[in-house]
């Protein structure tokens, strides 16, 4: 044994490497989890709120549309009811104004019809007829010769006889032109009755429908309860066509509802029953898509997409930062753990060394004294046989004791210097000591190690154990880098007033340029399989802790030079 404890910081057997930092795969997994979780909690509420908002918006839009349709339908209902009422009233007036006999006169009905049509600017009666209770047309004025027709088996005749007033569906009739009839029953004093019946062309009815304010897609028309058109429809064609969609049951109140049209497109239908008539007013409007100033679906989608894009960008960026930070943190922790572990290991070895040294010291003292006594005895007797030989043996024993003593003293010194406390240190002495730690290996390999200290370099205040570790690591690396017979030069120089520079230069293999930047990173190693990649990072950490700096210069094939700058005073 020639030197200090053989601690090789680059030997994986010496420093167990548990790697608690985030390795690539688990970092990626963590990042994925973070991205998904963050995206879920940020995007879900956004999507829900957007959906609710859009839904609400659509609803209010629908409500508004429904209201406008309802208004339109109500206005039309009023107009149509007024139109029908006007004509009923006219007929009512006629039967009351004229006696049965007068009405039966051939001249009366044409006269009345002319007056009526003059009075009603908008709609005119197409014809006018007087029918007796037997269903026979007694008198007729109009474009066709219908006098004498018998209507007693017709539905409208039956109805008007029972109810007094009747407005018919639109029908083609004898004249093959769409029209509808208004009939009024009048009781005579003799208990008999007669009926005044007028027909109105369907076109006239259609003209009564207000179409102001309708968009091109809107359709307003009249149908009967069987879905037969009573006025032309933009969608479904002319009068008397049957519309292909079911019409909701109409009441006197306007009903607005959504349903699918014949092409399965969603439409809004408003409908109302025109009072005392078979007519149902229908207003069909294609499903309202929000348009114009409001938040239309495309706009909402665009807004959402842009928001989601930015959120995702932020999440991806943030999670990358987060994971990178975590990883850096974890690396730092691992490094620290290793440093602590390493220091503990050194301290343990130090304690072991100290106790061994103590135990050996006592028998060593006895050997020394016994050899001394033997020497005394031999020296006192000039006649001692083979005196010179014995004295030579004694010298040899004493020399060996001195060597042993050097070793034990060094061991004890090493143990003691594991403490981190500051003390005044001569760098030259310290470096000599560390070089002696390198041991026989250097000698066997014929590596020359020189220490060149500038005269008058001041002692520094620093932690001895830590400095030993720093230089031991650097020297071990240098030793590993040089070939047999290589050189390691250590130079100690002042650097400015307050700092000392220690440079360790070797003529070894050198470090490739791309590795120079990474050389102090934890777990960076070029010794595949044998290095922990911790030696230089620990060194770097210690130098930092001591308030110093470490730098490296190297070229491949031209060796390497590590320079450690240390403050003269600590802190």
């Amino acid at each position: 044994m020639t030197g200090a404890p053989p601690i090789d910081p680059l030997d994986p057997a010496e420093v167990e490497v548990a790697r608690p930092y985030l390795a690539g795969a688990s970092a990626a997994r963590l990042r994925r989890t973070v991205v998904l979780a963050t995206a879920a909690v940020s995007l879900l509420p956004l999507l829900i709120i957007s959906f609710l908002y859009y839904d609400q918006y659509e609803r209010s839009l629908h409500a508004e549309a429904a209201q406008s349709m309802s208004r339109q339908v109500t206005n039309n209902k009023r107009a149509l009811e007024f139109f029908l009422m006007e004509r009923r009233s006219a007929l009512s007036f006629m039967v009351r104004d004229r006696s049965f006999a007068e009405l039966c006169d051939v001249k009366t009905l044409p006269l009345l019809m002319r007056h009526m049509n003059d009075a009603f600017a908008l709609g005119s009666f197409a014809d006018l007829g007087l029918i007796d209770s037997g269903g026979k047309q007694l008198c007729y004025t109009g474009p066709y010769d219908l006098k004498g027709r018998d209507y007693h088996d017709q539905d409208w005749f039956y109805r008007v006889s029972r109810r007094g007033v009747f407005i018919s569906d639109t029908f083609l009739g004898y004249r093959q032109s769409p029209h509808f009839a208004i009939a009024i029953k009048h009781e005579r004093e003799n208990g008999d009755y007669y009926i005044l019946r007028a027909t109105v062309n369907a076109e006239v009815l259609a003209e009564q429908i207000l179409t102001a304010g309708l968009s091109p897609d809107d359709d307003v028309f009249l149908v009967n309860k069987d879905g037969v058109l009573q006025s032309p429809s933009r969608r479904y064609g002319g009068v008397l066509q049957t519309i292909p969609i079911p019409i909701p049951r109409a009441t006197n109140e306007v009903r607005v509802l959504e349903q699918a049209d014949e092409r399965h497109r969603s439409v809004v239908i408003a409908c109302v029953q025109i009072a005392d008539s078979p007519f149902i007013l229908v207003y069909i409007r294609p499903q309202i898509r929000s348009q114009g100033a409001g938040l239309s679906l495309p706009r909402l989608l665009l807004f959402l997409l842009v928001s989601i894009f930015f959120i995702l960008v932020v999440i991806f960026w943030g999670s990358r930062q987060f994971v990178a930070n975590l990883r850096a943190h974890s690396l730092k922790r691992a490094e620290l753990m290793h440093k602590v572990e390493y220091a503990n290991k050194l301290a343990t070895i130090g304690r072991l060394a100290a106790s061994v040294a103590h135990e050996i010291n006592n028998p060593l003292a006895i050997i020394n004294e016994k050899a001394g006594l033997l020497e005394d005895i031999v020296k006192l007797q000039s006649e001692f046989p083979r005196r010179e030989k014995v004295l030579g043996i004694v010298d040899s024993i004493k020399g060996s004791v001195v060597r042993c003593r050097t070793i034990t003293h060094r061991l004890l010194g090493f143990a003691k210097r594991m403490d981190v406390s500051s003390e005044i240190i001569s760098l030259e002495e310290l470096l000599k000591e560390v070089v002696s730690f390198l041991g026989k290996e250097v000698e066997y390999r014929n590596v020359t190690v020189t220490i060149d200290a500038e005269p008058g370099v001041p002692n520094i205040e620093s932690a001895r154990g830590e400095l030993q570790q720093v230089f031991l690591n650097l020297l071990n690396n240098a030793e590993a880098a040089v070939k047999d017979g290589g050189h390691i030069d250590i130079r100690v120089r002042t650097a400015g007033e307050r700092r000392i520079a220690v440079s360790i230069t070797d003529d070894g293999v050198g470090i490739p340029k791309e590795n120079l930047e990474r050389i102090f990173e934890p777990f960076f190693t070029t010794k595949e399989g044998s290095g922990t990649g911790l030696g230089l990072s620990i060194t770097y950490g210690i130098v930092q802790k001591l308030g110093g700096e470490i730098a490296v210069q190297s070229e491949i094939g031209n060796g390497a030079c590590f320079t450690v700058l240390l403050p003269v005073r600590r802190g």
Binding site: A354, A357, H358, N361, N362, L364, A365, I366, N368, E369, K370, G372, L373, D376, I377, L380, V401, R405, T408, H409, L412, G413, A415, K416
Partner: protein
């Protein structure tokens, strides 16, 4: 100069006997004991010029022994032998009144030189 009377105290009997014999060969009246208790007892029985005391001993340690010696015989010179790196013990010993301390293992000639200095110093003091 009168014969130097030295009491050598160490728990290693082999060491004690050898050192005593070597000192005697050099004309020093050396006595050896292997414990602090024995040393204190012997001081009461016969006079010594110097006591050489190992710091680490089972039972009464060197520092305790020097404390007691300095109480009963303040003028008696005491020399401490400490293990390497036990600087603290040595400084404590010096504070307690030791003349000097030497690190083990000690070269005999060095020891004798210090012994002479101790007596001379003691006489001066």
């Amino acid at each position: 100069m009168a014969t130097l009377r030295v009491l050598f105290v160490d728990d290693e009997e082999e060491l004690v006997s050898t050192v005593v014999e070597r000192l005697e060969l050099r004309g020093i009246a050396a006595t050896g004991v292997v414990s602090g208790e024995a040393a204190l007892a012997l001081i009461e029985e016969q006079p010594f010029d110097v006591v050489v005391l190992d710091v680490r001993m089972p039972g009464l340690g060197g520092l305790e022994v020097i404390k007691r010696i300095k109480q009963s015989h303040p003028d008696l010179a005491v020399l401490l032998l400490s293990g390497h790196g036990a600087k603290e013990d040595a400084t404590t010993g010096l504070r307690l009144g030791a003349f000097d301390y030497l690190q083990k293992p000690v070269d005999l000639e060095d020891l004798i030189a210090v012994l002479h200095r101790a007596v001379a110093g003691g006489q001066c003091g």
